[in-house]
């Protein structure tokens, strides 16, 4: 054996109906190496690792493990080989305890007491803090991820696959995670690290394999490459920066939120507590925070889906709208884009034109005497498709037939072309590739330049830092005081994001 490759892939091909998800992909991961798998959404990263972990089977190609050709028929077989995986969307059971969740991930039957002591040993060894008897639904996202990591580490893996692990973590949590990963790698565990965050890959990884459209583009050394050069390999063209007018001044206050409170929605919801902020004309206001800290409730409270008893809690241009429903608020110029595209922002089985009617009917006069003006709806949908270069067959395409990124562009366009006075968007580029994300960001900047006030709720700190003028952090349903983005410190934002969660909650 020439090189001690732990995992070697050659000619891996996987076809789904209509898509070639992986086309002749091959690379190898050495013992103790942290290997990045880099690519845009839909580049085929997840499909590739699912084949390594045995969730999917390749149509062609071979997987070698310590030099031996293997076929991984299911996740159990993968774990037996020593392959562990931490999923992007955690496979956790909300209503169960940490211990029960970990026990479910173990193949061997271990008595609860032994398991608990082994968990405590692993946590001590890697400095992962968790309370075994807490119910998962009460934990922060970072803590949930630790459960997955502990679950994987209990099997003493030789290869650990991490699927976009940092997308929901605070900067401090990311640092802690990297410490654990580096320690693991030193002990000889190989790590396959999937991400599209280039500065993390530069900071952590020894090698990077870049995928684009299912094909292998390059295997490179992230220490030598720049973030920009890797990004350009990833998207296959040169990056465009957001262009904005320098030194523009803000107009008068447009959206004023004052002492907004909202009770929690259901046992796992978050209540909003005394939220106040002001967004001026032309300003983009960012709301950062770890998922599940009241972002959804805030969007609903601003859009009008969850009206408030106090009319003065939300005012637009001085008009109190806090008590109004979403439709009435649209009349006052508030547009909104919720996080969930399919089923909340759009009806999947409706055409794009019909979906346009849902939010634009009053502002653009698409309903006359109770009848839908189908022509006006089609024309408007066509304009949106054109202006935002949405890839769709036309206004009569079904919303569900569009890819996530294209549907997101369509929904953003549907709201923006109505020229709202105030636009509230949540996760505007979640699961959207870098090209589409760039055009969505540009559209938001352009809308602000026309004098609209914009609120962007996002978990992606990089997005907020590059897009917003002012930002605040939401934690446990409370909003921090606003700060000017240009003067904000990452550490400080990270601490605010951690808030009552994270370290503080481990005190006995």
């Amino acid at each position: 054996m020439a090189s001690p490759s732990r995992l070697e892939l050659t000619g891996i091909t996987k076809r789904f109906p209509g898509v070639l998800a992986n086309d002749n992909v091959g690379f190898s991961v050495k013992t103790g190496e942290i290997h990045a798998l880099l690519g845009e959404n839909g580049a085929g990263k997840s499909t590739l690792v699912k084949m390594i972990y045995g969730i999917l089977q390749p149509d062609a190609g071979e997987i070698r493990w310590d030099g031996q050709r293997i076929s991984v028929t299911n996740p159990k077989a993968a774990r037996k080989l020593g392959i562990g995986m931490v999923f992007q969307h955690f496979s956790l059971f909300e209503a169960m305890t940490v211990l029960e969740n970990i026990a479910l991930g173990m193949d061997a039957k271990i008595p609860a007491r032994d398991l608990e002591s082994r968990i405590l040993a692993v946590m001590g060894q890697y400095g992962l803090k968790l309370e075994p008897h807490r119910i998962v639904s009460t934990l922060s996202v970072g803590e949930r991820q630790r459960i997955e990591i502990v679950r994987a580490l209990l099997l003493t893996p030789k290869l650990l696959i991490m699927d976009e692990p940092t997308s929901v973590l605070t900067p401090q949590e990311v640092e802690q995670l990297f410490t654990v990963l580096r320690k693991l790698a030193q002990e000889g565990c190989s790590i396959l690290y999937i991400s599209h965050k280039l500065h993390e890959i530069k900071a952590l990884c020894d090698t990077a394999t870049i995928l684009r459209g299912g094909k292998l583009v390059d295997t490179c050394d992230p220490a030598v490459e720049t973030s920009r050069s890797m990004a350009e390999k990833m998207i296959g063209s040169s990056l465009k920066d957001i262009s904005r007018v320098a030194g523009r001044a803000f107009g008068p206050s447009k959206l004023v939120v004052k002492a907004l409170s909202l009770p929690a929605d259901g046992p796992f919801g978050t209540a909003l507590r005394d939220i106040s902020f002001t967004v001026r004309a032309g300003e983009i206001f960012g709301v950062a925070g770890v998922a599940g800290n009241g972002q959804n409730a805030l969007l609903l409270a601003l859009s009008g889906e969850a009206p408030n008893q106090d009319p003065a809690s939300v005012t637009v241009d001085g008009v109190a709208v806090g008590h109004l429903q979403a439709r009435a608020r649209r009349g006052h110029g508030i547009g909104s884009v919720p996080e969930e595209r399919n089923g909340h922002a759009a009806v999947p089985i409706f055409t794009l034109a019909d979906n346009a009617v849902l939010t634009a009917r009053d502002r653009l006069g698409m309903v006359r005497a109770g009848l839908i003006d189908a022509k006006a709806a089609r024309t408007y949908a066509g304009e949106v498709i054109e202006a935002f270069s949405v890839k769709a067959t036309g206004p009569s395409a079904l919303a569900e037939s569009l890819s996530g990124g294209n549907l997101q562009k369509y929904i953003m366009g549907r709201e923006i072309l109505q020229k709202p006075q105030v636009l509230v968007v949540s996760q505007p580029t979640w699961g959207v590739d870098a090209g589409a994300a760039g055009s969505i960001h540009q559209a938001l900047v352009d809308l602000a330049a026309t004098g609209s006030a914009i609120v962007v709720i996002s978990q992606d700190l990089d997005e907020l830092l590059s897009l917003c003028d002012t930002m605040a952090v939401i934690n446990g349903g409370r909003l921090s005081p606003p700060m000017v983005v240009a003067e904000a410190k990452i550490d400080e934002i990270g601490l605010l994001m951690g808030g009552i969660h994270g370290e503080a909650s481990h005190a006995p």
């Binding site: 996740p75 496979s91 956790l92 909300e94 029960e100 026990a103 479910l104 039957k109 796992f268």
Partner: protein, 307 residues
């Protein structure tokens, strides 16, 4: 009146509670695995006639109980195939199972109408079972004790065994359980069959204990009460036991009102009470916002793993 009346009343309540406790325990396990089977009433009827028929032929009520369990489980497997294999709508399929069970049990029961079976022998010696006071504890049908033993057994299974943990996991998040590598479909098959068997045993309590004879639709809507009981209990076994006896008291009041003819309200009012109480209890629980916490998150949703 007096102590004798009280003992007789308690024995009546225990008897009325037992079938809904049995069927409710089964349905609780089914729902914990994420499946909503509204066919309890139908499975109880199939169990009632199956148990009765087997006892007629074998002259052994214990074989009858096994037959009732098998009958209920078989009926539930029809539901299981439709819901798990063909992803049909669980609510509609469950309703269909009730209608089917009502019809098939009437058909099966045609030649059994008017016959009677030998009742269970008492588990305890007559000195205890027929004793003036001790019959309160020792004088029940064996199925009553079986139901009472099943309560802690089910609790232990769900809380403390690995199989129970997996079953709850499947009901809580089927996709995650699948991605870890558990067979959601197999777990749900087993849970549905268990629910069917328990409903069947609950059903045969009517045809073999309450009245040792077969009559069409003899479960008289108790399957629906068992369903309500599961929600009423908030998917907790201990509360299910309490709830079953609470409903038992309400049903006993109806019997008393009918039998004595002495009631300040018509017996129909008491007949409606269990249902009315269910509505009251449900709105009370949901207004406190605690009902959702213990409800299986995947309840009633088909399992559709993508790729």
């Amino acid at each position: 009146m007096g102590i004798d009346f009280l003992i007789a009343a308690i024995i009546t309540v225990v008897g009325l509670s037992t079938p809904i406790l049995l069927a409710g325990l089964g349905e609780l396990v089914v729902e914990k695995s994420g499946v909503l089977n509204l066919g309890v009433e139908g499975m109880m009827l199939v169990g009632a006639i199956s148990g009765f028929a087997v006892t007629v032929y074998t002259f052994n009520p214990w074989f009858g109980v096994l037959g009732a369990a098998a009958g209920g489980a078989l009926a539930s497997l029809i539901f299981a195939v439709l819901v798990l294999q063909l992803n049909s709508n669980q609510v509609a399929t469950g309703l269909a199972l009730t209608i089917f069970g009502t019809g098939i049990s009437s058909l099966m029961g045609l030649s059994f109408t008017g016959r009677i079976v030998m009742p269970f022998a008492s588990v305890f010696p007559d000195a205890l079972a027929k004793h003036e006071y001790l019959r309160l504890i020792f004088g029940h049908s064996p199925l009553v004790y079986f139901a009472l033993i099943m309560v802690p057994l089910t609790t232990w299974f769900l809380k403390s065994t690995r199989a129970g943990l997996i079953l709850r996991a499947v009901g809580e998040n089927d996709l995650s359980a699948h991605s870890i590598g558990y067979s959601v479909i197999k777990v749900r098959y087993a849970a549905i069959a268990f629910g069917g068997a328990m409903a069947g045993i609950g059903g045969c309590y009517f045809s073999m204990v309450i009245t040792p004879m077969w009559a069409e639709k003899m479960t008289a809507g108790r399957g629906w009460i068992a369903l309500a009981l599961v929600v009423f209990a908030g998917w907790r076994t201990g509360r299910l036991l309490t709830g079953a006896y609470f409903f038992g008291i309400l049903m006993a009041l109806e019997l008393y009102a009918k039998a004595s003819g002495f009631s300040f309200l018509p017996s129909q009012f008491w007949a409606a009470m269990p249902y009315a109480m269910t509505v009251v209890a449900l709105s009370f629980i949901s207004s406190r916002g605690t009902a959702g916490a213990n409800a299986p998150a995947c309840l009633g949703k088909p399992f559709l793993p993508s790729t």
